[in-house]
């Protein structure tokens, strides 16, 4: 009987300990970038630099 009581007590303690686990488990989405954000990778930044880069290519890489 003490053995059964001990098992029951152990089960109660285990459940109590498990219930104290962090509920907000982070599940990472595979194949999605996990690093720091890059301010120059955005659509706005790319649009801002597109024309100057185009002009520079036409100036510097065409034959004179």
């Amino acid at each position: 009987m003490p053995y059964k009581a001990m098992l029951a007590a152990l089960a109660v303690v285990s459940v109590a300990l498990l219930s104290a686990c962090e509920p907000d488990v982070i599940v990472h989405e595979p194949g999605v970038y996990k690093g720091k954000p890059d301010e120059t990778a955005t659509q706005e930044a790319a649009e801002r630099r597109a024309q100057p880069l185009r002009d520079r290519a036409l100036t510097g890489m065409t034959d004179r």
């Binding site: 720091k36 120059t40 597109a50 036409l58 034959d63």
Partner: protein, 195 residues
């Protein structure tokens, strides 16, 4: 939206290695790491060709597909970059890359690999623009200043083209037309003759 691309005109490349030197100098790339290198085909034989190769900033980058820690990202204009703070130096990207672009500095004895290093299209990385951390980890950010990669800008024969894919293909198309209207890419004449 522009998509940034490299193109090396094998008819013009003279294997001067200026692109390699410019890259190493601009970004202070560590010893043993070559973000760009010149490959020579049929060295010393008639018809020898050379091409300058680095990360080609693939549209569907295989390096990003195999990365176990997902440290790769592509900018809105198609530049493939990575976060060195996440990289674990596993080498999967090196096996996946068809151009051999990913490089690893040897940081300690017994060939232990450091974090992966590759061409950034002179666009830095995920650190504040022009910060010291960005320069140390990724090199200079020329694109943010409206400049193109130094390897292409330094090319004496203008063999190496870089920039918006539309502009690059226009420039190359005009060259091909001047040469006689045939795309003189490597192996074309051998495979299809002169007609």
């Amino acid at each position: 939206m522009a998509r940034m691309k490299f193109l090396c005109d094998a008819e013009r490349c003279i294997e001067c290695q200026a692109c390699v030197t410019a890259c190493k100098s601009e970004h202070e790339v560590p010893w043993g790491v070559n973000r760009r290198r010149v490959i020579v085909m049929d060295d010393g034989l008639p018809g020898e060709k050379s091409v300058s190769v680095a990360c080609m900033h693939c549209s569907d980058a295989p390096c990003a597909a195999v990365c176990p820690v997902d440290c790769f990202y592509t900018t809105a204009d198609g530049i493939v970059l990575h976060d060195k703070d996440l990289c674990i130096g596993c080498g999967y990207c090196f096996y996946a890359c068809p151009f051999g672009a990913p490089q690893y500095p040897q940081q300690s004895a017994f060939g232990v690999r450091g974090k992966m290093d590759k061409c950034t299209f002179c666009a830095g990385g995920p650190e504040p623009t022009h910060s010291e951390a960005e320069y140390v980890k990724y090199g200079a950010n020329r694109v943010a200043d409206g400049k193109l990669p130094l390897c292409a800008e330094m090319c004496a024969t203008k063999a190496l083209l870089a920039g918006d894919g539309d502009v690059v293909s226009d420039i190359y198309r005009q060259r091909v037309m001047r040469r006689g209207g045939r795309p003189q890419t490597w192996g074309w004449q051998a495979a299809y003759g002169t007609t």
